[in-house]
Symmetry: D3
Subunit: 283 residues, 6 copies
């Protein structure tokens, strides 16, 4: 008898019970102000993941030695931001309840608010490590509080001062940088200081949110708001490996791939490779 067509991220087809890490897609881009399209990222990432290997020569580890589960995409209502975030939080909560690590693939960056809500409910002193080109610390954007441009500000309302650690930031309005001076630990332009931050956060519960536009748009053009002057692939690869292997990660996400803006497919291939390195480092 034939089987239904199952489509997962490469090597993420273990059984749910056996898997410590559970992927899900949250293809929401309803508040994107400039160029939409991150809604297509989870599907594109699954499709293209079969172009990479399961083995990493960087870490000398193979995904086939571990168990991962891909639970597919949430069907999210466009035009209703609040209920989309609620649905994301519910999915993350279910995974956490089963003692597993939620690994979300966005979508625009606002989706992080859903998982952070769920994770912070269970981990009281949660810290957030944030890689991004943009500060995302606006209080509102064109009057909207629920916006991709405000997501770390909303997270700050949950986790409070001195719990957010930002790296690679190179864009924002002046007020966001002022806010960061007071309330977060922001490292501009690069990963300088990441080693020290990782040392400091050892043993604490950490949520890791990766906005892929922290990469230079030369290697990652497929995103809504490309910001030149970003980090290289190798810098990011090393940084995510450091964070995921040395810290106690209790939830994470990768977001802001917008495949339609990169006809070459390189951006999607980069996202797949970074996700592989993260999955291996978390294992």
């Amino acid at each position: 008898m034939l089987n239904k067509n199952i489509q997962t991220f490469i090597a993420c087809d273990s059984e749910y019970e056996d898997s410590k890490i559970v992927l899900f897609g949250a293809g929401f881009d309803g508040t994107t102000s400039f160029r939409p399209g991150t809604r297509f990222a989870p599907s594109a990432i699954r499709n293209e993941s079969f172009g990479i290997e399961t083995y990493s020569p960087y870490q000398n580890k193979d995904m086939t030695d571990y168990s991962y589960f891909d639970s597919g995409d949430l069907e999210l209502p466009f035009g209703s931001t609040d209920s989309a975030i609620d649905d994301i939080a519910a999915r993350a909560d279910q995974i956490l309840k089963d003692g597993k690590l939620p690994f979300m693939i966005g979508g625009e960056h606002l989706v992080t608010l859903g998982t952070v809500r769920a994770v912070s409910d269970r981990y009281k002193d949660l810290c957030i490590v944030h890689f991004d080109a943009h500060a995302d610390l606006r209080d509102d954007y064109l009057g909207q509080k629920m916006s991709h441009a405000c997501v770390l500000r909303r997270c700050h309302e949950i986790v409070g001062d001195d719990h957010i650690f930002q790296f690679g930031i190179r864009s924002g309005d002046r007020e966001e940088f002022f806010f960061a001076d007071e309330h977060t630990e922001m490292h501009r332009f690069s990963f300088d200081g990441l080693e020290e931050t990782v040392e400091k956060l050892r043993g604490r519960d950490v949520y890791f949110t990766l906005d892929l536009d922290v990469l230079d748009p030369s290697i990652f053009p497929g995103t809504g708001t490309p910001e030149a002057g970003g980090v290289t692939f190798d810098e990011l690869r090393k940084a995510v490996t450091l964070v995921c292997s040395r810290l106690n990660i209790v939830g994470c996400d990768v977001n802001e791939l917008s495949p339609v803006y990169d006809q070459s497919g390189v951006s999607t291939a980069v996202a797949c490779k970074i996700i592989r390195e993260m999955l291996l480092a978390l294992s």
Copy 2:
């Protein structure tokens, strides 16, 4: 002294006082469920309009003989559908208040709800002529009542039974076609019956809403949900000329161009040419 850079649809640079027709852009696509991008339509249409002539050999009329005003684009908040529709209604109302005809360029089809609200406030027995591939008569879409897929249903709540006349419809769920049987006059697949409808509506106040995906995607690929089997350019050109020249149009819109999906630029050029024919027929 030099002037600031003014950018309008071609030949729409008359003074406001002199103009009977006022264009504005409503680049909102916040509820688009499949492929977003209509937000870029008003700007693309202005840029590309300089590739067409002001003279129409079809109507033997020249835009330079009339006065049109292009008031630019509304800045609409993504992620907040209700306030976007409110802003659209306010702009339309201001134009109507000054005794002029609002001509809106979308944006997704939901923007029509804003102008229809404003127009129906002033014209009590308003009829709507609707060209589209899709019925847009869902009561809700994934739980949302404010969705592009529901816009004519929302309009029906305003204008009531027997006031909506639909042409070219070739896609929808079964319930939408049932609803149309009871509450609207729907002509499937083509403009068959348009002459009779125009005859019937003579002398009444009519709002005209044109979803450009009524065109076959061979000539209009740049749209979010292409539906093969549509009308030809010449069929649409004749139909809009008929509607705009013979009926008492009190407001109108052209929507659902998504330029990024047509690298050739043909879809945008088609939109420009249809808008020119409408403007000339309305004059």
Copy 3:
């Protein structure tokens, strides 16, 4: 507990036992001589199928009223044509053995040879209805007998004279047209004569193979060898409905979509809509 991500053509997620029609993908393009890329068609078609409705206003039928099963894609070895065709025949045979109808999504046209082999093993007097821009009747192509350009010639070796009925053919070398004069029933350029052919084939076992490049490239640019002068979408839609609803179809395929050559996505949307109409007409 969460489920693994299942991805099927829209509304093809019934159970195997309940389904009379079983889809599978054969993304092989190893002999394509001009522009490759049909290997990506099955995956693209599944992804994009969620942009169309399950209801057809043309046939007034809804896919949700029937049971279809999508068994996913064969993993085919590039560089080894013979074993690819063998794998395809094996999958088709398994479906036939269970009393179901195999519905294959190519891939290049050579994949048809695999299903025709399997089907002709069970149905001895098999006829083939063939829609295509190209005759595909070469004896060999650059010395290769196993080539997309020879597939109907290979099928002719199986089913014999007067069992192949070709429509829409508008390209080939001179010898192919000579061969057709002797051995097949070829209708050039259009579907003229299809009604009569359908009448003639009533009650016989028929395999239906649809090369989508029979369509004019204005509506179907996403193919390896676009040939201007093809049929319209509505002509094809009516023709496939006629064939699938009136004949005793025992196997069928849809092939030659090459999504990468149509950045607008229209070609893939067209393929989805034609497949929906075929599935409904077969039910």
Copy 4:
């Protein structure tokens, strides 16, 4: 010993002495006012010509039964319109001097001025048959007399009243249509009247200039100024066959393909097929 790489339009590799028809490319687009890129057409057409067959089922003729010569592209100086036109005239003159028919592939439409100059030097009562979306009858364009938008006006200065026969025209400024009323025989929008014109021109020397944008942009998006509402491929195919087979053509050109605006390659394939039909009809 190995040979240098020779690249010609398909089946145009006969010896010069044996060939009655000589192709050459004039990839000039220096006066293009909207979207440039026709400079790439001759090269693209040669490359893609190997995707079509040498046999035409429409005319039942095969290019391999005739002799054609492809003399390659002129190297034309951008920024110096006059010398570009001079170089074109010189090449055409050389071909005419050898008793052969010059068949030019543009380039923007202004290149026609070069060949018409050369041809009219040898054929005193020359008539011009002109297929185009645009009238090209401006006296000047932004002050320039040497512009693609003025090319038929410049030709009119050479051949005089009642020697230019235009078909398919659907765009221009008002003055161009006035000019046509007085000085040319213009058939708007279609090929209506072509049979009569061909009858009338029998026995006279005719130059045939084909601007491919006479085609509807659905089938020919790859052009600088797409104008919806054009003729179909089959209409054009029949019209060029009529003109080339029944009239005494002494020179001809095909222009305004801009390949970069059609990522699918369909426009180039269409150009190749039309050129094949013309070459066969001329033979």
Copy 5:
């Protein structure tokens, strides 16, 4: 009352009287020998500038604290190089006459000749700082003296020996490098030596011309003649900041963006960000 649609580079909408810096677009590409398209750069840059912030974290300055004026694009005649350059010189002269700094957005590099003519009329001992991949020092190109490939050679005829300082040059014919050895100060491949040059030029009047293809095509693919081996974004950002903040700039330009060759939009975003950094450094 509604206003006409005004479109400027972000934050360049101050009044003319208040602004020390005046932008204008010169979208001319009439002598481009390889791939045209820079004519679309000024419009694309204005449209996309709203995707960047007005605040620069690099310089800790915000455009909203200064006054800039965008005077729109010149309408330049294609096919007539001389008059295009004259029109550019006239616009620059008008801005200079009013005591303001002309900031031109090209267009191909030849446009620089127009502004340099105007600026050198007022500043007698003018020096030119030139960033580029190409030397642009040919005496003629295919016989043309007015060519993008000759623009610095033409400028040299105006400003003379030892007044041109070139950086990043990595392409040219052999003679251009010989010429540079004798007549200009050329720094190959990088910005090595820029600090010293800036020191040397302190207090002198300097025109700054930036050909964006000095960037590596990985970050700036959208240009006519991509030359691998260029500088990084951060290198260019620092270099333009150095030049614009430390030297007495009396005119400048940014040219050679060709948006159509970068579907991702990254090249345009890069151009916008470099222009922002220049505007802030000049203030």
Copy 6:
């Protein structure tokens, strides 16, 4: 008399007798498992080579001072891998027989097997220098021994242990890296160690095979399997110059450009520039 159109790589139009280096194209991609399209590379490289200069400022050498011959492309049968490789070996053998150096432009990497067979027949102790992102050391791929993923493994069967020197490798399955530990000299991720290897190989006969995907996809997106984390253009330029100028190269190839995946054309321009540097360094 006019000449047939000859198309070669820039400055490779010398006579065969005079040339020490002979180019040929092998546009085969029949075993490509992920994204096909390298078949178009030789033609694209010839067309675009006229966008670069013949002079290299890096080596201060000009191609016009040397003689090169471009013998065009092999016509290879798709679907028959063995005969394609045989045809390649035959062409290489003919060039070697005439005492010249074969310089092949692929195509997928498997084409290297053809030239290595021919070269190793004449040079008994042949060493291979291999730049690539992928190890290409699989014993089979989906059961196929003749696959691009196995090409260096097949070469190893010819040249034996310690005769293959690999650089830049950053992808493969675990077994390939194990195999390399035993049988080849593999340098991961970069060109570290290249100087020493070149020193060691002085005086020996060396075949050089360059898979362009050794480059980072930021500068070379146009390839079938992009692998982030590659070398920069300048690193590759220096490395190929070192290898080609200091070693006794008896044959070489450049492969895996897939132009359709890079709409900007940068990847093709990069390939052209690398080929120029190789040709100059070999002279």
